[in-house]
């Protein structure tokens, strides 16, 4: 009597026990005859055979397969509806050595996630997407999907899908095959033995290509949904063959090496690295411990109309604080307009950790126009400081609790010949009033904030003059305007 050897059994890529519920720990949650289980098995088998279980991150969608993380003993991320390719993009870029498997249904991929799949494919992200197309929304109970066939009834197309009302079914493979970047696109079907084995081959090929770093790979799997289609499992498989195949023809839509996709020559510095490059001496963190700043904090609100540089001023102050080794926060608030409209930001510099970046009662208000002054001045702390961008206060304005200084920054900037530096003049004025920030850090932050523009020595010099102008103005204004 010869011995039998196991040739096909539960893949090691599946958990031994499915912990989803107290009961049914050895069954998936899929309906009898569902295609998801078969697709899961094909993916799991391919991963196991390639020996990549420990390198795989499985990104599950929203839909029936949302619980894939209960089944796959790999890395798992469950993405928001339709966003699987976007999440997979991030994972693959952060962990390029990983195998990133994006698994989506047709409601997820072809409706709410149309943008994500199209752009991930267009960028040639080196991921594998398995697209389970059953022409219907399964989990939510049979609503019409973008892939629903013409004439097919659903709860939301009870008279059948009519192109004049709901449009035609979306052909995702064909759509993606118009793009340059994808390397492999195939449509397969789980409708009979032969096609199931073709699907197995396609899944393996997609993963093999990803393993070799080839590029974006996509396999659409036409899959039965007996429950929602209201058929027994065998009829459902026949329905794929008879109804779906004429609409969604099987085949390879793309199989070629990736085009040469050049990346920009931007150096890939991390944020910390970039800061180190600028600070050079690298002692910024120690400075805060030893200096006069211990235990001190400063909260500011900067406000004006969009284009006056109030948000940028906030950023500069926050980054200066960062270079001084302080905890900082910067919270902008602005409308959709790029120019005009009102804009303000909250900045907090502190020795301690910052609880909330939202500042209700700032120590300092920098008001770049009258509206901002009237709106925010009442919030300023008692004993606080208000810097107002005019030579005098508006009529009838009274603010007894705070010291108000009129710094005509815009006028001074015009005198310097560059209206844009009004915000830097305000910074100079602020620094004259507060020794938490140093001129040295101000200039280096201005330099790095301006980026390429600062390479022009004249622009940098203009900013230096603006800083000085603000500082000098405050020193000259020996007797601040008092209310």
């Amino acid at each position: 009597m010869s011995d039998y050897q196991v040739t096909h059994s539960k893949s090691q890529v599946f958990y031994d026990v499915f912990e989803r519920k107290a009961e049914l720990k050895h069954q998936t949650h899929y309906c009898p005859g569902c295609g998801h289980g078969v697709a899961h098995k094909l993916v799991a088998e391919a991963i196991a055979d390639m020996g990549l279980q420990d390198k795989t991150i499985f990104v599950s969608p929203v839909g029936c397969s949302v619980f894939a993380y209960y089944y796959f003993d790999t890395g798992n991320v469950q993405a928001a509806h339709g966003r699987t390719p976007a999440v997979a993009t991030g994972l693959k870029r952060a962990c390029p050595e990983s195998m990133v498997v994006a698994y989506q249904g047709d409601g997820d991929l072809a409706a709410i996630g149309t943008a994500e799949i199209l752009h991930a494919a267009n960028r040639g992200e080196k991921i594998s997407v398995f697209f389970i197309n059953n022409a219907i929304y399964g989990m939510t109970g049979g609503q019409m999907a973008p892939t629903t066939l013409v004439g097919q009834t659903s709860t939301t197309s009870p008279f059948g899908r009519w192109p004049g009302n709901e449009g035609y079914p979306l052909h995702v493979c064909e759509l993606l095959a118009t793009l340059e970047a994808p390397v492999y696109i195939e449509r397969v079907a789980l409708c009979d033995n032969k096609n199931t084995m073709k699907a197995r081959k396609a899944v393996r090929k997609a993963l093999e290509l990803q393993k070799n770093g080839a590029g974006f790979t996509f396999v659409e799997i036409l899959s039965p949904c007996p429950t929602i289609w209201k058929m027994d499992p065998l009829d459902a498989r026949r329905w794929i063959e008879e109804k779906m195949l004429p609409v969604f023809p099987l085949g390879v839509f793309r199989d070629r090496p990736a085009p040469q996709m050049k990346e920009s020559p931007v150096p890939h510095h991390t944020f910390v690295e970039a800061l180190e490059l600028d600070t050079k001496d690298g002692d910024t963190h120690e400075r805060a411990q030893t200096s006069k700043q211990a235990g001190r904090s400063l909260t500011l609100k900067m406000a004006g109309f969009g284009g006056q540089g109030v948000l940028l001023l906030g950023q500069i102050v926050a980054e200066m604080g960062m270079r001084e080794g302080l905890e900082v926060s910067w919270l902008p608030s602005y409308g959709p307009e790029m120019r005009s409209g009102s804009a303000h930001c909250h900045v907090c510099l502190a020795q301690e950790r910052i609880g909330s970046p939202l500042i209700s009662h700032p120590d300092v208000l920098i008001a770049m126009n009258e509206i901002s002054l009237r709106k925010f001045a009442p919030q300023v702390k008692s004993g606080g400081l208000i810097l107002y961008n005019r030579s005098e206060l508006p009529e009838g304005f009274e603010m007894p609790q705070a010291r108000v200084v009129c710094v005509p920054a815009s006028d001074l900037a015009d005198q310097l010949g560059m209206a844009k530096v009004a915000n830097v003049i305000m910074l100079g004025a602020l620094m004259a009033e507060n020794d938490l920030l140093t001129e040295e850090s101000a200039m280096s932050v201005v330099q790095s904030t301006l980026g390429a523009k600062a390479k022009s020595a004249s622009v940098l010099e203009m900013n230096r003059k603006a800083l000085q102008a603000g500082r000098e103005f405050m020193q000259k204004a020996a007797t601040p305007v008092q209310n």
Binding site: T7, S9, Q27, H36, G37, V38, T196, L234
Partner: protein, 92 residues
């Protein structure tokens, strides 16, 4: 004596959901649904005990990851055929 089947299938009756896909897919038709019910109340599939070739089609058809296990008879050791010259050639 009837020759021993080349393959063998075991089906975990607690994992089977009784969809019947394996029964229809099996090329030698050696699977069927039981008359009795399993603990979940479905008729699970079972192997008739003869004719399995170990092809694995039922495994790929079954949606449950662990319901079906397929075995194949291990092949007998291959007879090594050599010529007289080879046998007489000096060993390297």
């Amino acid at each position: 004596m009837a020759s021993q089947a080349r393959g063998k299938v075991t089906i975990d009756i607690n994992e089977c959901k009784g969809c019947g896909l394996c029964v229809a897919a099996c090329p030698p038709k050696c699977l069927e649904l039981e008359d009795g019910l399993n603990s979940y109340g479905v008729h699970p599939a079972h192997y008739l005990g003869v004719d399995c070739t170990g092809c694995g089609i039922c495994f790929y058809t079954c949606p449950e990851p662990g319901a079906i296990t397929v075995y194949r008879m291990s092949p007998p050791p291959k007879a090594v055929i050599t010529t007289t010259e080879e046998r007489n050639a000096p060993a390297h």
